[in-house]
């Protein structure tokens, strides 16, 4: 089975964020980046499917030169090769632009399966996978917690809300958006890291003339809607005060 996995590079989760001077994006020139966590689960699922059924895993990312770091990491974890749609404009693009760029790279590869994370940790649109499936003209299913390949088709377990699930059958080729926690992540071994250095990252041209469809007018820290009382002092003092307010003011026990 030939599988493409879309990896997004995002600003590290625990980073302290600062808004840029234009107030439309964060200052990311000196930020630390990492692989979008849901995408890491998608990659792991692809590697497991390859182990069971054979084939090839191609990691794909759209963004500036720096996203090669996550592609290299994907290769170190076991992907066979990588595609990079390089464009600085894609760093903060909307989901349609990113899906269009990914489609340009994945379309000619004629893959059997495309996996993405269910959403990204930065913009969190939860759109790219589904839009990409439409652009590639293939069937899709979202928020997947289990994947089975049976007789040239898929059976996947979709997560619904409130503890409900549903098995869905769909033909190949197909695209799945993968829910975090579907599997246990592996990390790159030293051998994997060494092997990755020899693997190919091929550059693909970004599609021309894609006009942005959405514009961030203003980016800001949200206003507080609730009056929060921050309790300060040493850990011991803060703890005593917290227990006092919970007993006497909030009366929760």
């Amino acid at each position: 089975m030939k599988i493409a996995v879309c990896l997004k590079q995002v600003i590290k989760r625990d980073s302290t964020l600062r808004v840029d001077d234009a107030r439309t994006w964060v200052r990311d020139a000196d930020a630390e980046f990492e692989m979008n966590e849901p995408d890491a689960y998608a990659l792991e699922e692809a590697l497991r499917l390859k182990e069971q059924h054979g084939g090839e895993v191609i990691v794909v990312s759209a963004g500036p030169a720096r996203v090669q770091t996550v592609l290299r990491e994907g290769l170190a974890r076991g992907a066979d090769r990588a595609l990079h749609v390089e464009s600085d404009a894609l760093a903060q693009a909307d989901a349609f632009a990113i899906a269009g760029a990914l489609a340009a790279a994945i379309g000619p590869e004629q893959v059997d399966l495309v996996l993405t994370g269910l959403q990204s940790d930065d913009q969190g649109f939860a759109q790219v996978g589904v839009v990409l499936a439409e652009k590639l003209g293939i069937a899709h299913a979202t928020i997947i917690m289990e994947v089975k390949v049976e007789g040239g088709a898929l059976r996947v377990k979709r997560e619904l809300e409130g503890g409900w699930f549903q098995w869905v059958g769909l033909p190949l080729p197909a695209l799945l958006t993968i829910q975090s926690g579907i599997n246990t992540l592996r990390y790159a071994t030293l051998k994997g890291i060494m092997a990755a250095k020899k693997k190919e990252i091929r550059r693909v041209d970004a599609p021309a003339g894609v006009a942005p469809r959405q514009k961030i007018v203003s980016l800001y820290f949200p206003e507080k809607t609730k009056q929060t009382r921050m309790i300060t002092g040493s850990p011991a003092d803060a703890a005593r005060e917290l227990v006092r307010v919970l007993r006497e003011d909030a009366r929760v026990f």
Binding site: V26, D94, V130, A139, I143, L160, Q166, V217, A239, V252
Partner: protein
């Protein structure tokens, strides 16, 4: 005109769809509601109570059960016919499954997970960014209709304007040709042994707990408070606590008297499961964590220093 796509199951309208109607009503544009699938006639009759100009119920072969292909084809037909300026939808799991496809099919822009509408021409929409640490005002460009989905809980159902008489209901039969997804009936996993929904007090742990060896510290605090122990999704994904103790959109929705969040950042997937708690306490070393937006009491500090002191204070 704003077209609201409502979601129904067995004729019952999803609560979040009423919120999307409220969002549409508050723009002062005329509102048309559309609902699809088996049971759409019953749902449409209920939806007609809202102050809207029309309710469209779509049914037909291929729409008995929800599928992304079937519902996309059905809604694409109605959107193309009605030519709304905006299409509003609640940001449910079902919406995430079909709405981006629908917008892509029609080559129109879609903005997801919005929490508010700002008046003006054009309308701008507020949405969380970077795990809700930041918020953005976003304008949508390109030709109409513009698709917008709203985070659950962003609008209040009790602000729904009701009509003096039921709105007209139109039944439409959709032509759905190819449906590639073959869904089985939805099911629940084995009965949950832990019912967090009934807990009066909950101590909940997030990524800040760092390692499974630290879970007993949270358990000790829970015991001292006579509270249930719960967690955010990453903790259950990692297997440090069982899935049945997960609070959030994919776990349980709780409303205890006390919700004490330890090392939880406050991502929306978690917040939707606990924001109904009466008193929320957050202890987190990141003073900018979004959980503090929601907390009644907060301590910006290291849980490994603060929690033992809280346990000691409770026992004192």
């Amino acid at each position: 005109m704003i077209l609201v796509i409502a979601e129904q199951k067995d004729g019952q309208v999803n609560r979040a769809s009423w919120e999307a109607i409220v969002a549409a009503q508050q723009t002062a544009e005329p509102v048309v509601v559309v609902v699809a699938g088996q049971g759409s006639a019953a749902a449409a009759a209920d939806l007609a109570a809202a102050q809207v100009t029309e309710v469209v119920a779509i049914d037909g072969p291929g729409l008995a059960q929800y599928t992304a292909d079937g519902f996309t084809a059905a809604y694409a037909q109605v959107v193309a016919e009605r030519q709304p300026a905006h299409v509003f939808i609640a940001h449910t799991y079902q919406t995430r499954d079909f709405a981006p496809k629908l917008a892509a099919r029609l080559d129109r822009s879609i903005l997801t997970d919005c929490t508010a509408v700002k008046a003006g021409t054009p309308l701008t929409f507020v949405r969380p960014m970077f795990q809700a640490k930041l918020a953005a005002d976003v304008a949508i460009e390109g030709p109409a209709p513009h698709f917008v989905t709203f985070q659950i809980g962003s609008f209040k159902v009790d602000e729904l304007a009701k009509g003096s008489a039921p709105a007209p209901v139109v039944a439409v039969s959709a032509a759905v040709d190819i449906v590639r997804q073959q869904p089985d009936a939805p099911f629940r996993e084995a009965r949950q042994a832990v019912d967090l929904t009934q807990a009066e007090r909950i101590v909940s742990v997030g990524r800040g707990i760092k390692a499974p060896e630290n879970i007993p510290l949270a358990k000790e605090l829970a015991d001292a408070l006579q509270a249930e122990l719960a967690a955010s999704r990453p903790i259950c994904d990692a297997g440090w606590l069982p899935m049945e103790r997960q609070v959030g959109s994919s776990g349980q929705t709780v409303a205890p008297k006390l919700y004490l969040a330890l090392g939880i950042s406050g991502a929306i997937q978690h917040v939707v499961g606990m924001k109904g708690a009466r008193t929320i306490v957050a202890i987190n070393k990141d003073a900018e964590a979004p959980i503090f937006e929601l907390a009644d009491y907060g301590i910006a500090g290291d849980i490994f220093e603060v929690v033992p002191q809280v346990i000691a204070a409770l026992k004192a």
